[in-house]
Point group: C2
Chain length 330, copies 2
Amino acid sequence: MKVKIVDVAKEANVSVATVSRVVNNIPLVNEETKERVLEAIKKTGYKPNAIARSLKIQRTNTLGIMIPDISNPLYTEMARGVEDICGIYNYNIILSNTDFSPDKEKESLDVLIEKQCDGIIYIGKDLTDEFQEILKNAPSEIVLGNVMDERGDLSSVLIDNESAAYDLAKRAIEKGHKNFALFTDRDGGFTSDKILKGVKKALNEADLSLDEELIIPGNINVKGGYAMMNKLLDSGKDVDIAMTMNDQVALGAIRAAEERGVKVPDDLAVTGFNDYWLSEWVNPEITTVKLPMYDIGAIAARMLIKMCEADEKESKTITCPYEIVERQSM
Amino acid sequence: MKVKIVDVAKEANVSVATVSRVVNNIPLVNEETKERVLEAIKKTGYKPNAIARSLKIQRTNTLGIMIPDISNPLYTEMARGVEDICGIYNYNIILSNTDFSPDKEKESLDVLIEKQCDGIIYIGKDLTDEFQEILKNAPSEIVLGNVMDERGDLSSVLIDNESAAYDLAKRAIEKGHKNFALFTDRDGGFTSDKILKGVKKALNEADLSLDEELIIPGNINVKGGYAMMNKLLDSGKDVDIAMTMNDQVALGAIRAAEERGVKVPDDLAVTGFNDYWLSEWVNPEITTVKLPMYDIGAIAARMLIKMCEADEKESKTITCPYEIVERQSM
DNA sequence: CTGAAAGCGCTTACAG
DNA sequence: CTGAAAGCGCTTACAG
């Protein structure tokens, strides 16, 4: 049988109220009594029941985190950031994979709410109007991680993907590249849209244009990159740079190019997006833009905890900095 | 104000008991009454409070997962496996990073117990006798993931690392390799020990011996691999194969070798361990042994849930299969 | 088929 | 400084 507060109280010859006070470090307890209780706790091996406590105080000290796929390195760093901050503030996290599925997202959210998470971090590649509405009406506090709320009444921490893509494209133009191909996400989404926009802007400013046929959609992973590069090369078009939406896509793309005897970067430059640890260990090293995924998670978590603890109800948007990392692939 | 069961009861003109019954799908409710309640639930937007429910029924339907570092690809797959099974059985998971720190492990475990996790999956690189004892006495059900309980009274799902290393070494010997170097984990641990043992066994059987000076300890990541290879090459010893403890180490090692003009595999073979997705996208592709990390997580979760739901108290050990994957680096 | 009531293990005003 | 008691939101024997 698990030992509960009343067992400790008996052992120490005090009331449960007193035990509760020492467990929660409420000061107005006599030192001697406190000692006695502490001893009883040790002796009985008492561990407070956080569920009972939560029910009473109406807070769980847990954050829910909705994430498309924890095993996707894009998200895993964010999760780690959330975790670390939670550790500091004594929160726990309930993890929920949503697999980019709207249905799973709804289910996940319901469960997280039912489990009374004080706050929820929503991470996804996009935010539909419908889900935005659902989140807005959720009883828990909400922060969006790397997703923009176009309507602007939810808090979020993000990256200016458009401007990052713009900077990277501009750098490419400065290096003399003129004929761009762009490998986009076949499923669309916020990030993909912004990157496309940023690249187009840079090209426009340089009086260059993007051949719409060279906007090649595909899966956002190595295999996808491999396939998109093959498609590009099959097109026979004159291209001197392929920009991708992440480093893994770039890796696959480079591989496909080299298999066909196209040298990167000499014959064709390739860029990644969202620096990944492996990108500097690969040959050629991938030129990319480094996004602070860990920080996004950490900042989102800190913000959310603040929201849970204060009654700070205004929604904020924090934009994190990025950094162009020039290596070898461009 | 959140709506609770009593609000629904009022709305539907029934007792809370009846509402509870329809929420929990207990059959003995009149169809009409049920309809009325369902409508009231919809109208009020009622969501059951899982915390209150848990307190009453003494089960939380949540599993705790202790994991050294979620952002380490070695563990992230296991977490995904756990997650997926939990999704099927309607469990949630509370995630806890332990960073290989015994203190954090103890803290984590306490918190998971206090939050009344029905079961806990312990993942780590080692299990000390002290912690084994603590786990054994925990009130929650416990399953070990990829950690062996030498004393054998805890359930676990693991991989026969020794035999995997043995097989890989044997394959190397068959290919004519004679002078082995081994890059081990500077922090020791179960996996490292077993691999060492397996390699030695294979060498012994072939009347070869392992030069103790060529057992090089280091950090288990790319940089560590890079450093260990440099150390190996600095030694000036005659070596024709370096076996590592994971693919990332192998990647770093290969890089270091090539920077010094040592061609892999022609001048020196390198093997990884625990196949990682990138290993076949890298040049040279890494020869390794594929360990079913996802399955370990999934099997551990299923086992744990069974233990939580039945009163199946015998401890079991499940050993998962592995597979040698020959690619280019050996 | 339905409801009144006890109880899950805590916390916290309130009274002393 | 300490304790008795109410109550957090549910579930579930028990009685009808």
